[in-house]
C-alpha cells in the first residue's frame, strides 16, 4: 500500500506540474500555433497523469477490498474517460490548427509560409 501511495503522489505532482506549465505557456507565447503547441500537449500530458493517479488509487482499493468493491466502477470509468481524452484532444488540436491556417492566421514574426496555397483539400 505504501508503494502505491508514493507512485500516486508522484503521478499527481507530474500532472499538476504539466498543467501549470501548459496554462503558463498559453499566456507567454506570441501567436496561435505556439499557444496551441504549449496548451494542448502540456495539458493533455498532465491530465493523463492526473487520471492515471485516480485509476491507480481506486484500483489499489479495489484489489484490497475484493471483487464487489464500489471502487471498481470508478476505476473502469476513469479508464474510459482517459481513452476519450486521448482521442478527442489530438483530433481537436489538429482541427483548430487547420482552421487557423485556412482562416489566414499568420505565425508571429514569420518570413516564409511553406504551406502557402497548398491547402485546397
Amino acid at each position: 500500500m505504501g508503494a502505491v501511495n508514493v507512485i500516486t503522489y508522484i503521478f499527481i505532482i507530474i500532472g499538476l506540474f504539466f498543467n501549470v506549465v501548459g496554462v503558463f505557456g498559453l499566456h507567454r507565447f506570441p501567436d496561435v500555433y505556439t499557444r496551441l503547441h504549449a496548451a494542448t500537449k502540456c495539458t493533455t500530458f498532465g491530465s493523463i497523469f492526473l487520471i492515471m493517479a485516480v485509476i491507480l488509487h481506486s484500483a489499489s482499493i479495489w484489489a484490497m477490498e475484493g471483487t464487489y468493491s464500489a471502487q471498481s466502477i470508478l476505476s473502469i470509468h476513469s479508464v474510459i474517460a482517459l481513452v476519450v481524452l486521448l482521442i478527442t484532444n489530438a483530433t481537436g488540436a489538429h482541427a483548430i490548427a487547420r482552421a487557423a491556417h485556412r482562416s489566414g492566421e499568420k505565425p508571429a514574426r514569420a518570413v516564409v509560409d511553406d504551406l502557402e496555397g497548398k491547402d485546397n483539400d
Binding site: N19, V20, V23, H27, A39, S47, L50, H57, I96, S103
Partner: protein
C-alpha cells in the same frame, strides 16, 4: 490525501485559462484557450469524483469530453469559413 490541493491547483489553472479566453486576440486563440479549459474540466471532474466518492462525476466527465470535442470541431469549421 492530496486530492483537495490538486483540485484547487487545477481550478486556478482553469481561471487563468479563462482570462486568455477573454483577452485573446482573434477567434482561433480563444478557441485554443477554450479547448484547454475543456481538458482541465475533464481532469478536475475525475479528481472530484475520487474526492467526494461519487462515481457519477466520472460519467459526467466522459459525456463532457465528447460534447466539448464536437463543440471544438464545429467552431473550427465555423472559423474555417466552410458550409457544414
Amino acid at each position: 490525501m492530496i486530492w483537495l490541493p490538486a483540485a484547487i491547483v487545477v481550478t486556478i489553472c482553469i481561471i487563468i485559462a479563462i482570462v486568455r479566453v477573454f483577452i485573446g486576440p482573434g477567434a482561433p486563440t480563444r478557441l485554443v484557450a477554450f479547448d484547454t479549459v475543456n481538458t482541465l474540466v475533464v481532469a478536475i471532474m475525475v479528481i472530484l469524483a475520487i474526492l467526494f466518492e461519487q462515481v457519477v462525476f466520472v460519467d459526467v466527465a466522459i459525456v463532457y469530453g465528447v460534447l466539448s470535442f464536437i463543440m471544438t470541431l464545429y467552431v473550427a469549421r465555423f472559423i474555417e469559413g466552410k458550409k457544414f
